[in-house]
């Protein structure tokens, strides 16, 4: 599947991503965590093919990503970017349908329309289908783009041996508590249905609650990876984030969580 092998990305002399090895597998939800400027989004953009690694390689099914046509890649993976500045008056549903009107896909038919409505229902926006995108709130816009990515994966024609990949860059940044759960729950459901899911997440506790594996990045490198129990160590996180944090586990199911430590006089 999609793999970064010793991938390094430099701008000038500054390495934004250094020597990263990471493999996405069907059925697995990986969350990338780490402080601002750690290289999380850059790594994601390398994996989408948007950026090309300075050194190392990004492979999809053993073939370098750069050798794929954009339309062939679009059949395999969908991306939800951090922020999208769309200033043209599309309705929410039309934005979602953009996920299916790209080269290589069949024209929107009744089936695609129905699937688009399903995707809007999944993110809780069915009632706002015909509302103008430019009139939606930040969180609603974010969910529209998630629905667009879901539609792209739902209607793209793929061989059975070619599982799809969903990549999300901070999908919960402007969402309220309930919708954070809706979106990450859907990401996990996608993984359970055999897709590979990768998300850049800022909220460590959300990452621990929904992802199968956490990858902690700092200064362009992977510092730690594994389950939440393996990554959530006081010393490790305090060093990566440069501030004092305490980890603990919740009572009943024993879920690891993180609390920033406030220094009170």
């Amino acid at each position: 599947m999609l793999a970064a092998r010793s991938a390094t990305f430099r701008v000038g002399t500054k390495s934004l991503v250094s020597d990263v090895d990471l493999t996405l597998e069907p059925g697995r939800f990986i969350a990338i965590i780490g402080p601002n400027g750690a290289g999380k989004s850059t790594l994601l953009r390398l994996l989408t093919g948007e950026l090309k690694p300075t050194l190392g390689a990004i492979d999809l099914d053993g073939r370098t990503l750069a050798s794929y046509e954009p339309s062939a890649l679009a059949r395999r993976r969908a991306v939800v970017p951090q922020a999208t500045a769309l200033s043209f008056p599309f309705t929410a549903k039309e934005v979602v349908l953009l996920g299916a009107t790209v080269p290589g896909f069949a024209a929107p038919s009744e089936h695609i329309e129905l699937t688009a409505s399903e995707c809007l229902r999944t993110v809780g926006l069915l009632a706002l289908s015909d509302r103008l995108y430019t009139h939606l709130s930040g969180g609603e816009r974010q969910r529209v783009h998630i629905a667009r990515a879901l539609l792209q994966l739902a209607v793209a024609e793929r061989g059975a041996s070619q599982p799809a990949i969903l990549m999300l860059d901070e999908p919960t940044a402007s969402l309220d508590l309930a919708h954070q759960g809706v979106v990450l729950g859907e990401a996990r459901r996608q993984a359970r249905n055999g897709r590979a899911v990768l998300a850049v997440l800022h909220d460590l506790n959300l990452a621990a609650a929904f992802a199968d594996e956490l990858v902690l990045m700092n200064r362009g490198r992977i510092e730690a990876r594994g389950s939440a129990a393996e990554v959530f160590k006081d010393e490790l996180l305090s060093r990566a984030y440069g501030c004092d944090v305490r980890t603990n586990t919740t009572p009943a199911p024993g879920m690891p969580f993180v609390l920033p430590h406030a220094h009170r006089p």
Binding site: R45, T48, G49, E50, E69, P70, S71, A72, L73, A74, R75, R77, A78, V79, P81, T84, A85, L86, S87, F88, P89, F90, T91, E94, V95, L98, G99, T101, V102, P103, G104, F105, D130, R131, L132, T134, Q152
Partner: protein, 363 residues
């Protein structure tokens, strides 16, 4: 307007009521047909469409009386090429505007505003001024195509420069683009002025009139000269529809959706330069069509390029004919430059856009 009419209008706006693609295209086609018939029928000589059969028979050589010959001159040799050229110029300027707005993701992008028209105009003026001088060996073999080809090269150079200046890390910086476009436009304008400064009185009046736009000099050879450009634009524009829809989300997002970003940009630049180049070469600089028409189509039927591109072509052609009819009837038997008429229509719409949306296209 009655007070009962208000609530319905408000309700319509709220629910984002739109015409379907089919409705918009059919409506624009009807408008264009009406405008084309009017453009053939109206003029300072008072010859109407009733004379068309006699004019045709005269053109085909069946009729030799002098009244028929005069009708043939007015209808077949003057108004018909003028109407066809007007349709071409209006449609291609509107398409160029729609494509640029899509590519630059900014509803205010327009070939006139960001210097592409001025670049094309500079090349065309240089061709006129130097055509019999030092550039003769290159230009003479091109014949009637010299002017549109030169304007095309001028347009594509300006657009290419803009993309190079404003493009960083795969994204076009809209602010940089507008400023660079204004700068390039000013430079082209200054160089055009320099050429005009060096030309004689007669050339000067031609250049001035031409820089305000006119369809006055339309002839059949000019119609044939733009034919290859019309074919190129008609064939290539449909290839842009899906790519431009993706571009509205952003270049990175378009790539994620499967759009070949570089190829789409290349096609967009070639089509824009061909449209603007040929239109400027034939009719001079006519502003605002490229902004007003796509904007109206988006208001009526939404921003999907499946309707914006064909709708803009049809409505642009219709608007150009209406402006041309106005230009030749208002002060007859003299003629207003069509650019003046278009500016009178375009300025209020443009200001409305700016006040509503801001320069960055953000609401």
């Amino acid at each position: 307007m009655t007070s009962e009419a208000l609530p319905a209008r408000v309700r319509e706006r709220r629910s984002a009521h739109r015409f379907s693609t089919g409705q918009l295209i059919a409506g624009s086609a009807v408008l264009l047909a009406v405008a084309a018939i009017a453009s053939l029928a109206l003029g300072p000589t008072g010859i109407t469409l009733a004379s068309l059969p006699r004019a045709i028979s005269s053109a085909l050589g069946f009729s030799t009386d002098s009244a028929a010959a005069r009708e043939q001159l007015v209808l077949i040799d003057i108004r018909m090429p003028r109407t066809l050229l007007g349709m071409f110029v209006g449609a291609s300027l509107a398409i160029a505007g729609a494509i640029m707005q899509g590519m630059f993701r900014n509803p205010l992008a327009d070939p006139g505003l960001i210097g592409v028209s001025s670049g094309a105009a500079l090349a065309a003026v240089a061709t006129i001024a130097l055509g019999n001088g030092i550039a003769a060996p290159i230009l003479q073999p091109l014949g009637v195509y010299a002017l549109p080809v030169a304007a095309f090269v001028g347009g594509i150079t300006t657009t290419g420069l803009l993309v190079m200046i404003a493009g960083r890390h795969g994204q076009l910086m809209v602010g940089t683009l507008l400023l660079a476009g204004i700068a390039l436009g000013a430079l082209s304008g200054a160089l055009t002025g320099l050429i005009a400064y060096a030309s004689d009185d007669r050339q000067l009046r031609d250049l001035t009139f031409w820089s305000m736009g006119s369809l006055g000099g339309a002839t059949w050879p000019k119609v044939f000269a733009v034919l290859p450009f019309a074919i190129l634009i008609t064939v290539m524009t449909p290839m842009l529809i899906r790519g431009l829809n993706g571009f509205l989300l952003g270049e990175a997002e378009a790539y994620h959706l499967g759009v070949n970003v570089e190829r789409t940009k290349l096609i967009a630049i070639v089509v824009t330069a061909a449209s603007v180049g040929a239109a400027v070469a034939m009719a001079g600089i006519i502003g605002f069509v490229g902004i007003v028409v796509p904007h109206v189509v988006r208001l009526l039927a939404g921003p999907d390029h499946r309707v914006v591109l064909p709708g803009s072509a049809l409505l642009g052609a219709a608007l150009m004919l209406v402006a041309d009819i106005t230009a030749r009837l208002v002060v007859k038997p003299a003629e207003l430059p069509i650019g003046i008429v278009m500016a009178a229509i375009g300025t209020p719409v443009f200001l409305h856009l700016v006040m509503k949306r801001g320069v960055g296209g953000v609401e």
